[in-house]
Subunit: 272 residues, 3 copies
Amino acid sequence: MPLLTLLTDFGLADWYVAAVKGVVLGLAPGTGIVDLSHEVPPGDVETAAFLLAAAAPTFPPGTVHLAVVDPGVGSERRLLAVEAGEARFLAPDNGLLTRILQGGGPVAVRAADRPDVYLPSYRPSSGEISGETFHGRDRFAPLAAALLRGEPFASLGPAIADPILLELPRPRREEGLLRGRVAHVDRFGNLVTDLPGAWLPAGTPFAATVGNALTATRRVSCYRDLPPGEPGLLVGSLGTFELSLAGEDLARSRGIARGAPVRIAFGPGARS
Amino acid sequence: MPLLTLLTDFGLADWYVAAVKGVVLGLAPGTGIVDLSHEVPPGDVETAAFLLAAAAPTFPPGTVHLAVVDPGVGSERRLLAVEAGEARFLAPDNGLLTRILQGGGPVAVRAADRPDVYLPSYRPSSGEISGETFHGRDRFAPLAAALLRGEPFASLGPAIADPILLELPRPRREEGLLRGRVAHVDRFGNLVTDLPGAWLPAGTPFAATVGNALTATRRVSCYRDLPPGEPGLLVGSLGTFELSLAGEDLARSRGIARGAPVRIAFGPGARS
Amino acid sequence: MPLLTLLTDFGLADWYVAAVKGVVLGLAPGTGIVDLSHEVPPGDVETAAFLLAAAAPTFPPGTVHLAVVDPGVGSERRLLAVEAGEARFLAPDNGLLTRILQGGGPVAVRAADRPDVYLPSYRPSSGEISGETFHGRDRFAPLAAALLRGEPFASLGPAIADPILLELPRPRREEGLLRGRVAHVDRFGNLVTDLPGAWLPAGTPFAATVGNALTATRRVSCYRDLPPGEPGLLVGSLGTFELSLAGEDLARSRGIARGAPVRIAFGPGARS
């Protein structure tokens, strides 16, 4: 039985995550389920897209990734199924799979449409028919179970060519200047950028600016080498540059959020 | 091996949830464990009762549900075991199983009393005898493991007829008026009421009031159809009405908490 | 397949915990993974050491415990592997395993050093080589998988005799006085001390002081017996004394944190 990962904005205080798991485990017994994260800020599709692309490559072939950050639940928005390499993804068609679709490899995209497996008449203990507010339980969980039970990817629905994509600015490499943005702020307050670490060879003088305020001119290879009180630049766990502050939450202390522009000037005169 | 769900107010920062799992997995190897929620506010039995009743129906037959919100741990309060349909429940006898017991189907109720399986002399690494503060680990986990290993429900203890019940007000349906309450506030700030959606046919004019302040007169079928800034009414994932505000936390923005009275006047003159 | 527990300061909002699990499940399919806690405050090695020692004894023999609170990641700090009884532990060599190493039983300690299993060239979807900031994914997860697949403990690396230890003050038992400290503050605000409950027989008059402010003179056997508004002393789930306040967060209401000194004067004149 392959693995299932779950990524949502449901939080952990409610019963929503458990309901999705209950349906999956009833339909595909023995599935191993891994929580990717459920603390995506409500409706924050871009954060979900980042987390999914970061974690998915670590999972073994055949894993099904179900991601439900779905402010359009119950509307006419489609349910998306994507096959990328040996991984399968299910998510609302709202841009959540942008980074998977733009990952560079071949992808197959389908609009999942399997009313035969949905739970349209799911009856809670009250005996009432539920509304259209919880497709994670009523539609996505049965779709995931179908894949986990071995139904072919192509059976989920028709191939489509127009999935919704987030407009994520691409990092740019210019003469003496790298232009990118803060792609994610992690729990420690590290600023994870979208700038590939390979774009700036170690030893090159540089000056990094985030927004208009922060400047780092020191590059280190691990957090411990950061000098106290001075932000530094290092290559992080996704191969991109991070800015970090020793033992402190850099994002909070400087009021920086996801999306802030990052500029790294480099070369002989970069620090002047 | 059947599934076990866990519902507690232990939070996720401590070692308490892991300890319950460690004991279960030692006594009933191979058990699949699903976290229902561990973020129940400390001692909030009513929230736990709500979450349990909401999630349990999604799990396959044979699942054991262990719920430990237990401010009376170590006192003379009983340990309750309930069989409802093909599900089994373990919880302190403090009202936590109220919604399961009042779910409408046949239930069997026993006072769990199996000192032969308890861990009364559990010895932490310090070598000390522990106190009576952690029955989740020392009593409930072994009881759950007994059920998971296939011991008959009736072996847990004597049948009883007087489990403690929360006094949950029942929603009422009067001439032109539905009277209920906010049964739960979810992560998104939605106000989940106890009023069945079937009590108000779509298209009926209405005016909904929560406490004394909030009025909604618009009904939608999904969150996306909510107009900006105006609360709306919709049938939620439990088949009851919810009040919601587009992209905002309605509960927080209006200062509404679980228990607030909800009135929905309906009929031709409802909005006047 | 034995069990794996995970203890980190990664939090639950990011993709870090899932990445560790993805690598483990790819290398050691079928592993049962239990989250011990991921809410250790960033870099708080002492809290991690406490939680690990509290939870590990509840798990069945053969369990592998992976603990990553690792501010020195990427530096020259060693990776530690410890065998204590039938449990195996992996953690950075920064004191995190202090309580396991000082638990009283025989332990074997090795400096894990297995570049053949590490993921030095882990390639995220960007195609970039990652930095040295995530040994949880790149080194510890493969090491854990090796143990879970049955590789012998001794194969992880050379035996060492000098693991780093936290200097944890030992509780003291003097004439009419117990001296200890607050070893942990739990979710409920209970002050878990390091003073063994066996050091003060029930019925002995006493006066307990935390820091300079708090005094408890009442001993109870369970939280429910605490009188409203008055802190009490009881033996907790680790066999040590706890101080607790009925239905309230004692730590927050009195501003007490981990490490606060605890003095319990006892005997005929203790309360005068």
